[in-house]
Structure formats: structure tokens, C-alpha cells
């Protein structure tokens, strides 16, 4: 094997994606490491992935459903609707905030070893995905409790999980790269996550947003993801707002491209900056 590698300033590697594929083993190992370390020395371990969204659901049901008296979708129970929103939101926010710090946390790795840096934040998002799958069991329990039967639409759910994944990876990569260079983002990211929780339809249904604003509202890619989740999980109770979904997918695709682009632009200087 005498493949030629050229190291030059500003040169994008031709073999980048091939390299990424070659390092898939490292990707798997890093994801496995993050997973196995995640709940070490905690008492209830993986249960945290169930308890956190459950508590959020209880609070949102009380605040939005009871106190603010917001309508649910169709005849679906309010807690179930909230939970169908919390699932993708928790996945997105965990993915974003943990990926943003992943490179800084593995500074020792980055300054000593070469590998496509894209692996580290992406592996973190995969860990968030595993948490998501665990929380999904909670949803199944809730559905059993309310004796709510999903229909064929639930089969489309994997497509929306993929959309949620892309929606988290794009901004996460951009934030990760910025966070390495400008540590201001250490303070900005928690704020974005907190703020996002209220501008996304997590605790309420997006149908409460006035019709003329819905298109604009869909610029938030999470809106499309959450609406999609509700459409799949709650069966015919929640209708899908097609133009909004298209916009959300477009914004997600743009951010994915933009995130990877920005990340790769800064990638080579990470070792000097971190």
C-alpha cells in the first residue's frame, strides 16, 4: 500500500471521506466509551434517561395543559402529546450541548493523535440517540397506560428520527468548531438550549401558533421534527403541516451542509487552539 498523502497549508484532503470510513472503528469505540462511562458511579444509572423526560412531561402538562389551558391535538391525552415532543427535543438538546463540548473534553486526544475530528462530536450525538431510545420505552409505557393505540403512521417514525439526528448534527458541528476557537460559546450554548425549549412546540401543540405565522415558525427545524413525531405517534389526531415540514427539512439540510463545511474549515487548526 503506497498511497500518497500530501500535507500542505489549506489543502482539503481528497481522502477525507475515505479516511472517515477507515476510522469507523474508532467512531464505534468512542461512542461505546462515552456510553459505558456515562452512568458510571451513579446509583440509578440508565434510569436517568427515563426520569428526566418524565418529570419534564409532568411539569409541562401542569403548566401548559392545566394552568394555561392550551388545547391538545384531537383527542390525544395531553401528557402523551407533550411526551411525543419531549423525546426529539431532549435528543436535540443533549446532542447539541454534549457535542459542543466533546472536542474540548478530548483535547488530549486531539493534540496527540490524527483522526478525522468529525468522529468525536458525531459519536456524542450517537450517545444521545441511545438515551433517546431508552426514553422511547417510557413512551411505550405511557401509551399502554392511556390505552392509546398507534396506527400505521408509527412506521414512518424512523424517518423522523433520522431528521432529528441530522437537525442535531448540523448545528452541533458548527457550535463545536466555534467553541474550540472562541470559548464564549461555552456560555452561549446553554442559553440557546434553554431558549429553544420555549420557542419550540415542546410543551404545547404547534397548532396554537396563528396560521399566518406558521410558515415562519417552521424555520426552526425542530418544529418539523416535533410535528412529525406527533403525527407518527398520535396517529390521525395530529395533522401534518406540509409546507412547514418542507421548510424544516430544507433548513436542516442547509445547517448540515453548513456545519460540516465550517467544521472542516477549522478542523486542521484544532490541535493548536484547543
Amino acid at each position: 500500500m503506497s498511497e500518497l498523502i500530501v500535507i500542505e497549508p489549506g489543502r482539503r484532503e481528497r481522502h477525507y471521506w475515505l479516511d472517515l470510513w477507515r476510522y469507523r472503528e474508532l467512531f464505534r469505540v468512542l461512542a461505546w466509551r462515552d456510553l459505558s462511562v456515562r452512568y458510571k458511579q451513579t446509583v440509578i444509572g440508565m434510569l436517568w434517561a427515563l426520569i428526566r423526560p418524565f418529570m419534564t412531561m409532568v411539569i409541562f402538562t401542569i403548566v401548559f395543559g392545566r394552568i394555561a389551558q392550551l388545547p391538545t391535538v384531537g383527542t390525544a391525552p395531553y401528557p402523551l402529546m407533550v411526551f411525543a415532543g419531549i423525546l426529539p427535543w431532549t435528543f436535540f438538546s443533549n446532542g447539541l450541548s454534549e457535542a459542543s463540548f466533546s472536542l474540548i473534553n478530548s483535547a488530549n486526544l486531539i493534540s496527540k493523535i490524527y483522526f478525522p475530528r468529525l468522529i468525536v462530536p458525531t459519536a456524542t450525538v450517537v450517545v444521545a440517540l441511545v438515551d433517546f431510545l431508552v426514553s422511547f420505552c417510557m413512551l411505550l409505557l405511557l401509551m399502554a397506560w392511556y390505552q392509546f393505540m398507534p396506527d400505521w403512521r408509527i412506521l414512518v417514525l424512523p424517518a423522523f428520527v433520522l431528521l432529528a439526528f441530522c437537525a442535531s448534527v448540523g448545528p452541533a458541528l458548527w457550535m463545536t468548531a466555534l467553541n474550540v476557537k472562541y470559548r464564549d460559546f461555552r456560555y452561549i450554548i446553554p442559553f440557546i438550549v434553554q431558549f429553544g425549549l420555549y420557542i419550540s412546540p415542546v410543551g404545547f401543540s404547534s397548532s396554537v401558533v396563528p396560521e399566518q405565522w406558521r410558515l415562519l415558525y417552521s424555520l426552526n427545524p425542530i418544529v418539523g421534527v416535533i410535528d412529525g413525531f406527533r403525527w407518527c405517534i398520535l396517529g390521525g389526531q395530529s395533522e401534518l403541516y406540509a409546507p412547514g415540514l418542507v421548510i424544516s427539512i430544507a433548513v436542516t439540510a442547509f445547517f448540515l451542509w453548513f456545519g460540516i463545511h465550517q467544521f472542516r474549515k477549522m478542523e486542521k487548526s484544532f490541535a493548536d487552539l484547543v
Binding site: 500500500m1 500535507i7 497549508p9 474508532l26 466509551r33 486526544l109 496527540k112 493523535i113 472562541y182 490541535a271
Partner: protein, 456 residues
């Protein structure tokens, strides 16, 4: 098609470094107005950097620093090359560029093979994971596939000697075990080019020997090795060619022997640098330090081993009590060799009356190897546990020739055997215990003893 596996052309690497006024004590008494003005200027500069997407540098003043400048070299397939140079000469930066960790500022590098770099042992070890898990983790980080690791797993464990602790989290390991395990994984890498930074300076002597042996195997197995170390003995036994770096430039390339010679000459050349700033401590200031000749007490830069070593230190004090004067002897690579303290060893403190003083310090004769040395001189408050004023390389001197007892062998620092001649007078005494192959009887061999101690 040449058989060069690594070609480096005009390689340069620039870093931006920031300076802060006031941290060196020179500008430390500034008015609040000045500080505010400075903060505003810094903020403006950082904001501009952010908008242009440039790196943010801490400090008041940004300076360029060339860690590598126009380096050209070629390394052939199967060659074992050593890179030597003073601290800060750019060795590690070069290795980092070669291993694609950081991008160069100019020039280019052509690599024709799979490169594995070992800039540190135990990169990515996670303290919460067990030894077994860390072998797989570290192996994957170094570029091994899971199948490769599984195949070599037993070998790695045996090399590290940690069989009993495989399922213990490495945070409970002793530091020796940790390092052994880490090196064991790295030693079983099989790339075409192996890049190794000073990683052998870990573990006990026994383990170091084992590591050197393993490295030698790699080099003889026809693979290319690029090796950085301050250990000249290791350099000599492992590499065939040497490259000397100085201040970011490749100044010499030739056989290891010649390169080490060149490096030694480089060390004995006076270090050209900025004239020493007139810094001072809170209570004291070391003004001048000189080495004096034995007879006439004239300043000198030469020391003859076996004679008393006389230092003259000029020092200002404000009369604070309990201050100690301390000396550190360092070798050419800035490794500390010895320590002297007026207070800790002799109960003596600086005069408690304000003024400028001259102290003559006479050290017992030292049998130093030929080479370059320096003294770091410091004043300290033993009660406060910190230096008041410290001057690095306050005085430098040289030992031209070292033959402690008149034998015709010049013992040099650069040999890598250390800096002190250890004399045994009249020599070793040999007492015959019996035939060499006979392990029974009174004389236990080391292997026997080891067997008795080991658990199984």
C-alpha cells in the same frame, strides 16, 4: 520514483503568541485608568479577530513565533532517523506536522505509507474503564483494528505484566502499571512509519530497557522510525541517521554519531538571546552570579572536575528575615542535577539588614562529565513556600575534559550515561561463589528470587 517515504519541502509553522504587560513585575504598578484603557483595546482587538474569523490571542501584544522555518528533509524507507535539538528547537512541532495533527503554515510534506505516531503513551486512556477496555480503546485510537488488537491481546497483557488487574479500572492502577500498559499497546503497533516522541523516559529502568529492545526490533524489522529523544545512548543504539534542529531550522543531517557531535558543539556555543532583563522579586533581587577560578578568584566559564566550585552571588535585599539562597545545577538539556540551599541544609538566612551583598559560595568538588552546565539561582521564603526571585541559567559554565582518575577516557555528558563520575576505590571486589551455571546452593540467581516473589 524515489524510495523516500517521507519528503519534507520548505516546511514552516507559525504560532501567534500573546504578551501581557505587568506579569513580569516591570509594569505592575499601573493606574486603574491604564488598565481600563488596555482592556478596552484588547476587547476591540478580540472583537475584530472574531469578526474576521481569526484566532483569539490572550495578552496585550501579539507576536509571531516560527516554530519551524524552511525545513527540508527526506527519510528513506526502512531508515531509523533520530531528531535532536535543544528544548524548543521545534522537534515536537515537526512530529506533530508529520503526524497530521496540526497543519503547517507553509511548505509541504509527502507521505508514502501508513503513519502511526506515539507522542505520548496512554493517549485517550479513560480512568473509569478497566485495563481490558482501555487496551481496546487505546488500540483503536492508535489506529489498530479490533481484530488486530484481539490477536495481540495476550502478548500486550504479558508485555505489560498486568494480568491480575485486567478488570480493574485504570484509575486504581499505580502509575507504573498505567505506563506499562500504555506502552505495551503502543509497542504492538505495526505501521509502515512509526513516529515516536520522548516516551521512553517513563517507567523503571527494567521496563525502559524492555521498551528500547522492542523499539530496536521495530527498527530492524525494516520499518521506518522517526525518533525524538534527549537520551543520546538510546539515540545511538536505535537510529542510523541524525538530524539536528536548532531554532526551527534543520542545521545538520548525517550519521547519528556526527549529529550528536554537532549537537554537542551547538550546546557549547554561547546561547544568543536577549540581554537579561533587570527583574526582581518582592523582597530580594539577584543582581549577578559568577563562577570564580580556584586560585586567583577571577571570573571564569570553565570548571575542572575535582576542584572546589566557587560561586559569587551579588544580591539586594530589603532586610526581610528568613530568606534562603538556593542553587540548582542543571545539565545541557536543562535537567536538574543537584540542589543547594543555605537555609534547608545549613540553617543560614540572608542578612536581615537592607542593602546589597556579595556572597561567596564554595561547593565541594564535583566529578562532572564533560559538557555544558548552568546554575539556576533563587531566593525563597521557606515559610511562604515560593520563590521570591528566581533567575534561570544565572551562570553557565563548561567542563572541557573529564578523566577523574587520570584514565585516558574522556567521560562526556552527551554519552547519555549521566553527568557524574561515580568512583569506586579501589574498584570492585570480586568474591567467587561457585560455578556460574549452578543455581542451587548458597548463591540464588536473580531469576530464582523473582520466582519466589511472584504469586504463582
Amino acid at each position: 520514483m524515489s524510495d523516500a517515504i517521507i519528503t519534507v519541502e520548505n516546511l514552516s509553522k507559525r504560532y501567534l503568541i500573546g504578551h501581557t504587560f505587568g506579569s513580569d513585575g516591570v509594569y505592575s504598578y499601573t493606574a486603574l485608568r491604564d488598565i481600563l484603557g488596555r482592556e478596552v483595546r484588547n476587547f476591540a482587538r478580540k472583537a475584530v479577530d472574531l469578526l474576521r474569523g481569526r484566532q483569539v490571542v490572550q495578552g496585550d501584544e501579539v507576536e509571531e513565533f516560527w516554530a519551524l522555518k524552511d525545513i527540508c528533509l527526506e527519510i528513506k524507507r526502512g531508515e531509523a532517523v533520530g531528531i535532536i535539538g535543544r528544548n524548543g528547537a521545534g522537534k515536537t512541532t515537526l512530529l506533530k506536522v508529520l503526524s497530521r495533527i496540526t497543519e503547517p503554515t507553509g511548505g509541504r510534506v509527502l507521505l508514502r505509507g501508513r503513519v502511526a505516531s506515539l507522542l505520548e503513551v496512554g493517549t485517550g486512556f479513560h480512568p473509569e474503564l478497566t485495563g481490558r477496555e482501555n487496551i481496546f480503546l487505546n488500540g483503536a485510537i492508535l489506529g489498530m483494528t479490533q481484530r488486530e488488537i484481539r490477536k495481540k491481546f495476550d502478548e500486550i497483557v504479558a508485555f505489560a505484566g498486568v494480568q491480575r488487574f485486567l478488570d480493574t479500572p485504570v484509575k486504581r492502577y499505580s502509575s507504573g502499571m498505567y505506563v506499562r500498559l500504555a506502552f505495551a499497546v503502543a509497542a504492538h503497533l505495526e505501521p509502515e512509519v512509526l513516529i515516536v516522541d520522548e516516551v521512553l523516559a517513563v517507567g523503571d529502568a527494567e521496563f525502559q530497557k524492555k521498551c528500547l529492545g522492542k523499539m530496536g526490533e521495530v527498527a530492524q524489522g525494516g520499518r521506518t522510525v522517526v525518533f525524538v529523544s534527549h537520551n543520546m545512548a538510546a539515540m545511538k543504539s536505535l537510529t542510523t541517521r541524525g538530524i539536528v534542529l536548532d531554532a526551527g531550522r534543520a542545521v545538520f543531517s548525517g550519521t547519528t554519531e556526527q549529529a550528536i557531535q554537532h549537537y554537542t558543539q551547538l550546546l557549547s556555543r554561547p546561547i544568543v538571546g536577549k540581554p537579561r532583563e533587570r527583574s526582581k522579586g518582592k523582597h530580594t533581587a539577584i543582581r549577578d552570579v559568577r563562577l570564580l577560578a580556584k586560585g586567583d578568584h577571577e571570573p571564569t566559564t570553565q570548571y575542572v572536575p575535582g576542584e572546589p566550585l566557587i560561586l559569587e552571588v551579588t544580591i539586594d535585599t530589603d532586610g526581610t528575615g528568613g530568606m534562603s539562597l538556593e542553587l540548582f545545577l542543571t545539565d545541557a538539556s536543562r535537567t536538574r542535577l543537584g540542589f543547594a540551599s543555605t537555609y534547608s541544609f545549613h540553617g543560614q538566612t540572608l542578612p536581615e539588614k537592607e542593602g546589597s551583598y556579595r556572597a561567596i559560595i564554595k561547593l565541594d568538588p564535583l566529578l562532572l562529565a564533560a559538557g555544558r552546565y548552568a546554575f539556576d539561582v533563587a531566593t525563597s521564603e521557606p515559610s511562604a513556600n515560593h520563590w521570591d526571585h528566581r533567575v534561570e541559567s544565572a551562570v553557565e559554565f563548561e567542563v572541557q575534559f573529564s578523566n577523574a582518575l587520570g584514565y585516558p577516557w574522556d567521560f562526556k555528558q552527551s554519552y547519555g550515561f549521566g553527568c557524574l563520575t561515580l568512583l569506586c576505590r579501589p574498584g570492585a571486589e570480586f568474591v567467587r561463589l561457585g560455578p556460574a551455571s549452578n543455581s542451587s546452593g548458597r548463591g540464588h540467581s536473580i531469576a530464582d528470587r523473582y520466582h519466589e516473589l511472584s504469586p504463582s
